[in-house]
């Protein structure tokens, strides 16, 4: 039965608040400034636009090779990111802020676009986190999906865990489904990497090396744009594009 529910300052028509056996993933549109907040302390982002079918296309300003520009190395990262509060629906269909105490299943589809003029050795992360404003990766405490590529190669796709990652894929890889489970304050993720026709390309997973989140912490979604390794730099006007889809479901158990 359909229901009109309120939450997060908006009304939503929910067709079935209890049956999640078949649900659509939602697209991430980083140009939607009413949803996504950009943090770019070093002015690394030159332009952002939506391109093609829900691809976020980003053109960069120059960025030096530094651990601080890489999401999966070291302890500090002040690379640009977008974030938004993570909401889920409760058993009555109300939107509620996801918390670190919750048990959540977060399903992500991550794909790099092919309309790229001149990319760099990039590392793009998308997942959930505790403090998207922090430049200390353990405080930010993010986990989820990643793709990374050299300046000339097809990306590898996989799992992002706080300040590390494991990715895989052949030259036919075009994206990945990454499922993250949050329970007891820890996010564990696994990835199935796919080809353009949706068939299997590869798979990977990685144990999360972060500590369990403190209780009652608000959770956010985060998209981080950085370099593949700490030594990779970005030249002005190098670009990338990516399409991100996700669904977060709050699980209730005995």
């Amino acid at each position: 039965m359909a229901a009109l529910v309120s939450g997060s300052n908006e009304w939503t028509l929910v067709t079935d608040v209890t049956n999640y056996s078949s649900v659509d993933l939602g697209f991430v549109n980083l140009t939607d400034t009413s949803t996504w907040t950009k943090i770019d302390v070093n002015s690394d982002i030159k332009t952002l636009a939506i391109s093609g079918s829900n691809y976020n296309k980003i053109t960069m300003n120059a960025m030096t090779g530094s651990t601080n520009n890489c999401w999966i190395n070291g302890t500090v990262c002040d690379a640009p990111r977008w974030h938004t509060p993570l909401y889920v629906t409760d058993s009555t269909g109300q939107n509620i802020r996801a918390k670190s105490d919750d048990t959540l299943a977060v399903v992500i589809k991550i794909e790099r676009g092919d309309v790229i003029t001149d990319t760099w050795a990039s590392g793009i992360v998308f997942g959930i986190c505790v403090d998207p404003t922090s430049n200390t990766l353990s405080t930010l405490n993010g986990a989820g999906s990643i793709f990374s590529n050299t300046a000339t190669a097809v990306p590898d796709y996989g799992v992002w865990t706080m300040n590390s990652a494991t990715v895989g894929g052949t030259n036919s890889a075009t994206g990945a489904f990454v499922t993250s489970i949050l329970a007891a304050g820890l996010v564990q993720s696994t990835a199935v990497i796919i080809k353009s026709d949706g068939t299997l390309d590869n798979k990977t997973s990685r144990n999360n090396n972060s500590s369990a989140m403190s209780t009652n912490q608000d959770l956010s979604l985060i998209v981080g744009v950085g370099t593949r390794t700490a030594s990779d730099a970005v030249l002005e006007d190098e670009d990338t594009s990516f399409r991100l889809q996700y669904k977060a479901i709050r699980l209730v158990s005995a």
């Binding site: 590392g123 990374s148 590898d156 590390s164 494991t166 990977t204 090396n209 700490a230």
Partner: protein, 80 residues
């Protein structure tokens, strides 16, 4: 005879970005090979190992562990 094993079915080719046991960051395209070390062998294995001694562990232990890892790697590469 050691019961150290490679979890052969879990060998994968991945690009790993992480840190080593000295806290040094690394990023490398690699075969990832899980090695299982029985708990009941720890006292012998670690007890006989001196991290400060460049000649430790002994040749027999080196050979045994190296052969376990390289055998798994060689077979994995040959099987594709």
């Amino acid at each position: 005879m050691s019961n150290i094993k490679v979890d052969y079915e879990q060998i994968s080719i991945n690009s790993v970005s992480s840190a080593d046991c000295n806290g040094n960051d690394f990023q490398i395209d690699a075969y990832v090979i899980p090695v299982t070390i029985p708990l009941d062998e720890l006292s012998t294995l670690i007890g006989n190992f001196n991290i400060e001694d460049p000649n430790s562990p002994d040749a027999e232990t080196c050979l045994e562990i190296t052969r376990i890892i390289l055998s798994a790697l060689k077979i994995k590469i040959e099987q594709g």
